[in-house]
Symmetry: C2
Subunit: 314 residues, 2 copies
């Protein structure tokens, strides 16, 4: 199997002007799971395709993903990413904006190296995906100011923000390998469910994770009143007294007591079981779709990835 | 001839989330010369092509150009553009960043509507152009902090920042019309020279323009010590006393006196004639290239554009 990390390392960012390219090199060298390019390569192998042909798209997706993190960190004023200073802290906001723009262009440059006859479809899908992710990010911002966000709206937001990138990676790899439309569609849906399970798991770990394995402080979402699957489920299922208690805590500043009190309310409302049920449901739907995939080593690896993501502790 | 303004008005930005799309609609509705899409359509007609086929690329170039203005305005902290509040002032920085990102993606969506068999080349060129513009912007930033910028470096910076977009618009239109490589190359070079003439004219008008027709205050570049063609030429040709006087004024804050004194130094060094000579030289080189273009009404219009740009007062 192709080593995606080696392929990323081979990308050359030594050209001038370094003010533009050094932050791109820095961002891509910071690691991460490389989940998206892995999915593109695996889905290509699943249908007997040549991984080398899927590599440009795989790399384009990873560069695109890192571009979104770079600009998100500016917008969220985040100072640390993967244990290192973010670009706008290490350099400045303008550098983060311009190098981020160039990174988005670099993603399209990598995409342009895909097989020419497949390029029109791959480009159209890539554009749809990129649009979805920007729309998801905008909804996330809009939700902060709204008090009436429904769980359905939340699911749609995380579908756009997280799932469509995974789904498009899978669909693109399968398309390059010559899989038919039905198979592409199943892989796409598989990616959607895996992404949703992944994101709800994220919300769950932020409250019920183990600080040691989770790698960051528990309760961050509660502190800043983030509208997560848990908080929205809590409001949807609270009785009048619980709702009033919850609203009382949301009006108060971040504190250890706030985290404890909201968690106690979550326990009483049964929010943890609801989130676990949702994760299980999406994992099961993903698993059911796998039956239709060719039975080979790539399927084994996709199944392994699904299990790992659904049971992850960090 | 296709009405480019009508085509831009037909782009639909009414979809949700409006937090993402309203700033894009606002930016594109603010007018501008629409020079880049005009060039793409004209060069297509020059070689007898169907304008409709060049329209997606023409629109992509205009949307891309407006994306660069949107992000540049954030980075420059500019509060007014084309007589209206900039997006980051009317909304906020995060909106300008995210809607700008989406605008870049929208440019690629428009490009993807170009004829499929021509898409691989058009995409590669578009990526090259976009890269050049980001590199040019970075050099512009780098130059601010440097005291040893040469005129050659400055010309290369404005070639990247201004010329390659015009040149790529022309080349793309010609390619879609089926022009051969030699013809594409000549149109590309024509665009490079026109862009350089345009940009040096910009520097000239900022000092020697008429405030009434120029539409903004004269001397803005002098006030902020901007490294323009005029300032770099002044340093390259000043004698020791003139250089010392120039350096003395650069060390002082913006004022009416500073503008007057630096202009007097420019006059003494002969900088105005140098800039006018450079504009004339690039206009002549562009004009010479026109001899090889087909003799038709589109060529007349390109010639008319060249004359207008080289003699513009605003």
């Amino acid at each position: 199997m192709l080593d995606i990390n080696k392929a990323i390392e081979r990308l050359d960012w030594s050209r001038e002007p370094q003010g533009l390219y050094a932050p791109i090199a820095y961002t891509l060298a910071s690691g991460g799971k490389r989940l998206r390019p892995q999915l593109a390569l695996l889905s290509c192998r699943l249908f007997g395709g040549d991984e080398e042909q899927a590599l440009p798209v795989a790399l384009a997706l990873e560069v695109f993903h890192n571009f979104t993190l770079l600009h998100d960190d500016v917008m969220d004023r985040a100072s640390v990413r993967r244990g290192r200073e973010t670009v706008h802290v290490k350099w400045n906001d303008n550098t983060a904006i311009l190098s981020g723009d160039q990174m988005l262009i670099e993603a399209y440059k990598l995409l342009a190296e895909a097989p020419g006859d497949k390029l029109p479809v791959l480009l159209r899908w890539f554009n749809e995906m990129a649009t979805g992710i920007c729309e998801g990010q905008q909804y996330d911002v809009d939700f902060e100011a709204r008090g009436d966000v429904t769980i359905e709206e939340y699911i749609e937001m995380i579908r756009l923000k997280t799932s469509v990138l995974l789904a498009n990676a899978l669909r693109s790899g399968a398309y390059i390998a010559g899989a038919d439309e039905e198979q592409q569609k199943r892989l796409y849906d598989w990616g959607i469910h895996v992404g949703l399970a992944f994101q709800i798991q994220d919300d769950l770990l932020d409250v019920y994770g183990d600080e040691k394995t989770f790698g960051k402080a528990i309760g961050g979402d509660i502190c800043c009143n983030k509208k997560t699957y848990l908080l929205l489920s809590a409001f949807a299922h609270a009785d009048t007294a619980q709702r009033e208690a919850l609203e009382g805590w949301l009006a108060r500043p971040a504190s250890k007591e706030k985290i404890e009190a909201v968690t106690v309310l979550y326990d009483a409302i049964g929010v943890r079981a609801m989130a676990e049920e949702a994760i299980l449901s999406h994992s099961r739907q993903a698993l059911a779709l796998m039956d239709s995939f060719p039975d080979n080593e790539a399927r084994e690896q996709l199944q392994h990835l699904l299990r790992k993501l659904a049971t992850r502790k960090n």
